[in-house]
């Protein structure tokens, strides 16, 4: 009995916080818009009993999903979001790996402090940190002022409101999510393996490439998924740092919801986004499972 209760707890959480909201969104995505509160129809009327429920279900249809296939905006936005996510995940890895490596190689007594430094930015609101980047990257911002002052450039660079600013913002924001799993993989690594590789005639680089990188693979994979999955649905960074040309599904969703007041189509976009995200998550889980099996 007690055991059943204990097991029930996570399932209740899952039901209340994931499945119920998902079915509400799914239901709205099958409805039609209307100028009312709430702005869609039909709404479930339980007072009419069984007939009300039947009437409710008979009014639902897949029209909105058909609509998503008719306008090329949606798949272009999905594609562009995936592209931005892939590129920025790669960039985050390139930047994050050396940092994690350096941390893992640092003397043991420094490591907690270094770890602290990576986590420290989380103590400031995410929104404020993105706004700070606006101040750094704008035409009259700090970066341009320094570059102009040192004479490296003669006219200010336009970075803010371009795709580059979006990448800078994403890499900066998600960097800790890459560093931490890679670091924990590297830290666990046995240093004598490198010595062995070098004894067997590997150069330093070969030892890194043939021993260190494969051993840190689980960390790399975990980091990549932790970065890529939220970036696909990212809305704040592209809308604050990006130009109007940055097409991302999060923004399209916003526009369906706020400009068109079309909650049903917005919900359909969200359901499809969820399905797209489920694929990497399943892959991730399978990888984790393989990992635990391998460890045993």
């Amino acid at each position: 009995m007690r055991r059943a209760l204990l097991i029930a707890v996570p399932y209740v959480w899952l039901l209340a916080l994931f499945l119920v909201p998902f079915f509400i969104v799914l239901k709205i995505s099958l409805s039609d818009t209307e100028l009312a509160i709430p702005p869609y129809t039909p709404t479930l009327d339980l007072s009419q009993g069984w007939a009300g429920i039947k009437g409710f279900f008979s009014q639902l249809d897949f029209e909105n999903y058909v609509w998503l296939t008719e306008d090329d905006l949606y798949w272009k936005a999905y594609l562009s979001s995936v592209k931005i996510a892939l590129i920025s995940t790669f960039l985050t890895l390139i930047v994050g790996y050396p940092i994690a490596y350096g941390m893992a190689r640092a003397p043991e007594e420094w490591r907690p402090t270094l770890m602290m430094l990576v986590i420290l930015p989380f103590w400031t609101s995410f929104l404020i940190r993105v706004y700070a980047w606006m101040g750094i990257l704008s035409n009259e911002g700090y970066l341009n002022q320094i570059l102009l002052w040192t004479g490296i450039i003669s006219t200010p660079l336009t970075i803010l409101n371009t795709q580059s600013a979006v990448y800078i913002g994403i890499v900066y924001t998600y960097l800790p999510f890459m560093i931490l799993p890679v670091y924990s993989a590297l830290e666990r690594m046995d240093g004598s393996l490198i010595e062995a590789a070098e004894d067997l005639g590997c150069s330093r680089f070969q030892a890194f490439w043939l021993v260190t990188v494969p051993l840190s693979k689980p960390g790399i994979i975990a980091g990549c998924f932790l970065v890529m999955i939220p970036v696909i649905g990212e809305f704040v960074i592209p809308s604050l740092l990006g130009g109007s040309g940055t097409l991302m599904i999060g923004k399209v969703l916003w526009e369906e919801f706020f400009s068109n007041r079309d909650w049903p189509v917005a919900s359909a976009v969200a359901v499809v986004l969820l399905l797209i995200l489920v694929i990497p998550i399943v892959l991730f889980q399978r990888n984790q499972q393989k990992q635990t099996e391998a460890d045993q």
Binding site: L35, A36, I37, P38, D71, N161, G245
Partner: protein
Amino acid sequence: MKLKMLTMTAVVALGASAAFAEEVRVYNWSDYIDEDLLKKFEEETGLTLIYDVFDSNEVLETKMLAGGSGYDVVVPTGTFLQRQIQAGAFQELDKAKLANSGNLWDVIQDRTSGYDPNNAYSINYMWGTTGLGVNVAKVKEVLGDDVALNSMDLVLKPENMEKLSSCGVHFLDAPTEIIPMTLQYIGEDPDSHDKDVIAKTEEILTAVRPHIQKFHSSEYINALANGDICVAVGWSGDILQARDRAAEADNGVEIEYHPFAEGSLMWFDQMAIPVDAPNPEGAHKFLDFILDANNMAAASNYVYYANGNKASQEFLEEDVIGDPAIYPDETTMQNLYITTPYPAKTQRVVTRLWTKIKSGT
């Protein structure tokens, strides 16, 4: 003893909920009031004022249509107000509780009754025009001294925009402002709801699109004031605030606001009470406070927008009432136009067109 404790808790809880009811929650546009007025309201009425801000009608509308926003007073623009009234989002005002409603200006009342018949649901807070904010020195440097700073040519002619792109141009991220403006430019009815007519704006806007740095509805205030951009298509009062911020910062940036010579869009921000407001009594008190001639004048003197309060005009400072950019002269007034809300189907066409113009897809 236990019972006594219980009753005491109940009394405390009741007291707490009574105190809770004495809050008034106001949801207004950002940078849109003199904050001293908020303190004054609390002192005069003893109510606790919770004041939140938004920067787009769309955000407000979504909250209204979702219901249960928890706000007692909200401030939608006329076209949005009209649609939200149709959706049943507001309650009729109780004029008996608005002792100061006689202060309202009939000229503005007349125009707003187009959105809110008989002005039954709302009072006018402020009104203004959509026009051009220019950094005079930079624009003249780029386009020469004799450029017309009040013409739509400045932002809708590709050859001008190509040159201006070097110093930065922002447009409002509001299709309901920019599309009527473009229609006015090509001589069509700015309030057209005809899809084919609306589609004509695409060519004009796509041609200047590469030279527009950003579409945003509030960032241009700071960007103009800091000298980050040299031209913005924006709302009158916001640009005048940018002008004042630049003057205060004394950074050598000189900003001017001009309504379009071709005719500008006139808009009205209306205060209304949501149908499910938790404290409609307090909401009426807030509206009556705003209707007070002195208070309304203080707000206008602070934000540089014209208001719909005739009695407040004698308290307005000369640089507000005397500035034709805020209170336009008779001929400019004749040139101003208004728009009505798009039906849902047309709205979808407009949003889609807007996305296409902005992102090229």
